[in-house]
Amino acid sequence: MRLAQHMAVASDRVRATAIEATEFPELSRSYRVSAVPKIVINDRVEFEGALPEAQFLDAVLRAAADAA
C-alpha cells in the first residue's frame, strides 16, 4: 500500500485503496485473492507480493494504457 498511496498523492489520476481481505470476503473472492498482498490495478493488471518501485510503476502504466 505504501507505494500506491504515495502515487495517489503524486497524481490526481491515481486512487489507492487498502482492503482488509478477511473483512471483505466477497471482494476477495471476486478478485481471487489467495495470497497477500495482492495488487489489482484497474481490475486488469494484477500481481502478488511487493514489487520495487520501477516495476510497480510499469504495472500502473500498463493498466492505464489498457484503459486508454
Binding site: 498511496q5 489507492a16 485503496t17 487498502a18 492505464a64
Partner: protein, 143 residues
C-alpha cells in the same frame, strides 16, 4: 478498549513529528452493516487522532445517511477511512487497518499532510503523463 500499547503510542507520536499540516480522517461507519468492526475502526482512528490533536481531525459518516458525501468519496463499504490532507488525494482504507496496514495508515497521514510523495522523480514524471484514471486495490491481511 485501547488498541495501541504505550509503546505503539510513543512510536506513532514520534512519526507524527513529521506531520507537515492538517490531516482529516473521514471514517465510514454503519452499525447495521458491521456494528462491531465499525466500532473498533472508529475507536482506533480516534486513538490515533488523539496522538496529534492539533493536526488531526476525525469526521464520521454513515454511507446510508450521508449518501451524497459517501458517493463523492466513492466509498460504499464499511468500515472505511479516507485520509485527506489539504485535499482528497484518493487514499482509502477498507477494513480495520491492523498490522502492516496500520503502519501504512500512519504513513498515509504523513504523506497527505505535506502532499509530497516520497517516490522517485522518474516515477512522478511518468505519473504526471497519465491521461486516464488508475484505481489501485491492495488486498492484505492483518498478520
Amino acid at each position: 478498549m485501547a488498541f495501541l500499547t504505550d509503546r505503539d503510542q510513543d512510536a506513532v507520536r514520534q512519526e507524527f513529528t513529521k506531520l507537515a499540516g492538517p490531516v482529516k480522517l473521514v471514517v465510514f461507519s454503519q452499525e447495521l452493516e458491521a456494528a462491531e468492526l465499525c466500532r473498533q475502526n472508529e475507536a482506533l482512528v480516534r486513538e490515533v487522532a488523539a496522538l496529534a490533536p492539533d493536526q488531526v481531525t476525525v469526521e464520521v459518516l454513515n454511507p446510508v445517511i450521508d449518501r451524497e458525501r459517501a458517493e463523492g468519496y466513492g466509498v460504499s463499504r464499511v468500515p472505511g477511512i479516507v485520509v485527506e490532507g489539504a485535499r482528497d488525494y484518493g487514499i482509502r482504507f477498507l477494513g480495520i487497518p491492523g498490522g502492516y496496514e496500520f503502519s501504512n495508515l500512519i504513513d498515509a497521514m504523513i504523506v497527505a499532510s505535506s502532499g509530497e510523495a516520497a517516490i522517485s522523480a522518474e516515477t512522478k514524471t511518468a505519473l504526471a503523463g497519465l491521461t486516464s484514471d488508475v484505481d489501485i486495490k491492495v488486498f492484505s491481511t492483518p498478520t
